[in-house]
Symmetry: C2
Subunit: 419 residues, 2 copies
């Protein structure tokens, strides 16, 4: 039982485990009781357990709605004061649910748990954690329940950590406590070689490296925010992504090991959330690309892939520049580009929302040449045209017609990961 709970990791008899549960796992009193039952099993097995929880799903949105009813752009310090109540509610209810199972448990706000952040409200960064109280409560036999997503400045101001903040709390606490394992509970069984809803043969990965996880996170596999993975990588926190709905072992995320390199490709992802902008016949002179992407960055728009083709003519050299942005930013990006028309002097601009980005990720591809070629061949065999290409050391991405995205994903998965 305990072995299954602990999954593939080789834990000591009595381990210190940080378990993070998201908003859907604690959405109502019944689900909170379910989580408590899980936590109680670890406690009964002799483990020291720190539980990190999010706000009950819907609560944060409800609070934001009320604030916006009063003022469209509420002050960020006050939003932190407001939103921090969401997690505080969950920790108290979780402690009560553990008491109902006769498990000693104490809840702590981020501030009480010693999570100190900078003063950038609504997206504060953790500066340090002094979990003295947490450790002392653990040593007295308690489960300690910590409010995710929140902290406190040195001056005692309540802050929140922004998107993915509760994952970050879990991983940062695991680092500060030198926990034996950090478990991130979610509504999927772990990290898959591809989205199982699209690729029926997709397999759950037993393990994955931080870098691969980061690429997948940034490629649209929505398991976790990059930020928490980066933090885990920086502090060497081994964590497990697993389901709060069953006892299946999840996926262990850790530093790359030699054995990982034997596997060329770790996963295939499809990102349907990109849109493409193309500037046609841009004068091919120094500084043009800089001007374009400076303006886009100033508008706070993230650019993913950039492709510039070779010049068409030699007498009045001009080129095409294409790049992708998140779909919701397309309108804004288009406006920025149109405002540059005179200063840059391009001929026309086109946009395309019907694109999909298929990526393969794996640390093994570093030592296996020909991975990109094999991907392109696979797509060619499926008569899928490649629009843009982007590569890094451990991934290859191609932009294709959105309508062929899932077909491409299945074909590529079969080619690299099929059995």
């Amino acid at each position: 039982m305990a072995d299954n709970l602990r999954s593939q990791s080789k834990l000591k008899e009595m381990a210190l485990i940080v378990q993070k549960f998201g908003g859907t796992s604690v959405a109502n009193p019944d689900r909170i009781k379910n989580v408590a039952t899980r936590v109680a099993k670890y406690h009964a097995a002799g483990d020291q357990v720190v539980v990190v929880v999010s706000a009950m799903s819907g609560v944060t949105d409800g609070l934001i709605k009320m604030a916006k009813e009063i003022m469209p752009l509420p002050n960020e310090r006050e939003m932190d004061m407001l939103l921090a109540t969401g997690e505080q509610t969950t920790i108290a209810l979780m402690a009560i649910a553990l008491h109902a199972l006769k498990v000693p448990a104490v809840s702590m706000t981020g501030a009480q748990a010693g999570i100190v952040t900078d003063g950038v409200h609504t997206k504060a960064k953790i500066q340090n954690i002094t979990p003295k109280q947490v450790r002392s409560l653990l040593n007295q036999g308690n489960v300690v329940i910590v409010a995710g997503f929140q902290g406190q400045t040195h001056e005692g101001q309540i802050t929140t950590l922004g998107r993915g903040g509760s994952d970050l709390t879990g991983i940062a606490l695991a680092a500060a406590l030198k926990a034996d394992l950090c478990q991130i509970y979610t509504d999927v069984d772990g990290v898959y070689t591809a989205d199982p809803r699209i690729v029926p043969g997709a397999q759950k990965l037993n393990e994955i490296s931080y870098d691969e996880m980061l690429e997948l996170a940034s490629l649209g596999a929505k398991v976790m925010q990059s930020r928490s993975v980066e933090f885990a990588k920086k502090f060497g926190v081994v964590f497990e992504v697993r389901s709060s709905l069953n006892d299946n072992p999840g996926t262990i995320v850790k530093e790359e090991t030699r054995s990982m390199e034997g596997v060329v490709i770790r996963g295939v992802s499809l990102d349907k959330n990109q849109a493409k902008i193309t500037l046609i016949s841009v004068p091919d002179r120094p500084g043009v690309a800089a001007a374009v992407f400076k303006a886009i960055a100033d508008a706070n728009i993230n650019v993913d892939i950039i492709v510039q083709n070779v010049s068409h003519q030699t007498d009045a050299p001009s080129t095409d520049i294409s790049f992708t942005v998140d779909k919701p930013d397309l309108l804004k990006a288009n406006k920025v580009i149109e405002s540059l028309k005179e200063s840059i002097g391009y001929r026309a601009v086109t946009t395309n929302e019907k694109i999909g980005k298929v990526s393969i990720v794996g640390v093994g591809m570093r030592s296996h040449p020909g991975v990109a070629a094999k991907m392109f061949e696979t797509l060619a065999r499926e008569s899928i045209n490649i629009d843009m290409i982007s590569t890094s050391e451990i991934k290859v991405s191609v932009v294709i017609d959105l309508a062929k995205g899932e077909q491409a994903m299945r074909a590529v998965h079969e080619a690299f990961l099929g059995k």
Copy 2:
């Protein structure tokens, strides 16, 4: 305008005012905006304003309901952690509502405002307040919004103050800040000579002494808990009870002044929430009453009026003992009494829920003999039988048939306060 707002009190040009708003005044974003508009007027008039708020009405009950769904008797420390979120939500929304009116405002939890309590969770007592931060924010021109009902122990544990806790926060902050005025906003216009719904001729009092207010509070006039009035009396905090629904001046509660003694009776109250228990034919020997009321007190039941009649016989002296308790405690009290039947040896016990307690209150009656007699005569003229009588230096209470309670109240009000 500002004069009307400031009511009868003679305030300096720029005053420091503490304003407390209860749950119904902040029940939703619209009402929060209304309160903000009121606060903004004081701020615009140059006053320094500290706003104390309760949880939005319904919020606390909703939190309690969730906790009890998980466990019938949840841990008190965790209940404090849970319930403190209610006021924290309101302070943030109130700050945002003031920002929407371009009024600089900063919210503070009880802990941040320097409210230090003992560690008795769910009914903590304020030990001291160090409002350094509050004062500094006021001096920078901010309205400071403080979460009512909550504090923090020296060790950093979140506590709540129990029933009437937000009033107490307001009055205690006014004391600590040496505020010029403390305003308790509620849904009535102030303190009346009697409940205007029962006595059409009831008049709003311009002022009332702490002691009179205390008697009224304990006699069923539900304006405020005794506890906050006692605190105000102890620290000499002058406060005003007034309506959050209009700009009418309210009732100033303060130390007794010579002029108050000219008025014999300050008010008439009717308490319908009492029930009577009578022990019939109790052996009239020493220690019997002690045994009865020790057992009742051990069961944590408050007794209001106690009456013991003279003995019936001289050979085997026996007597009747009657006392009143809050109606919800009647069953429990009856059980306690029945458990004593053998050891005490009374003949029978009867209970009566259909009683009403009519009281007159006024510091002036000390120097005006015959007040009680006039009250009894008035009731006799109305053919209302008196069941029990209880007096203090500044009040006379009679227990009568509940059905005649309102009639009695009107007659007594007419006799003492009619125009």
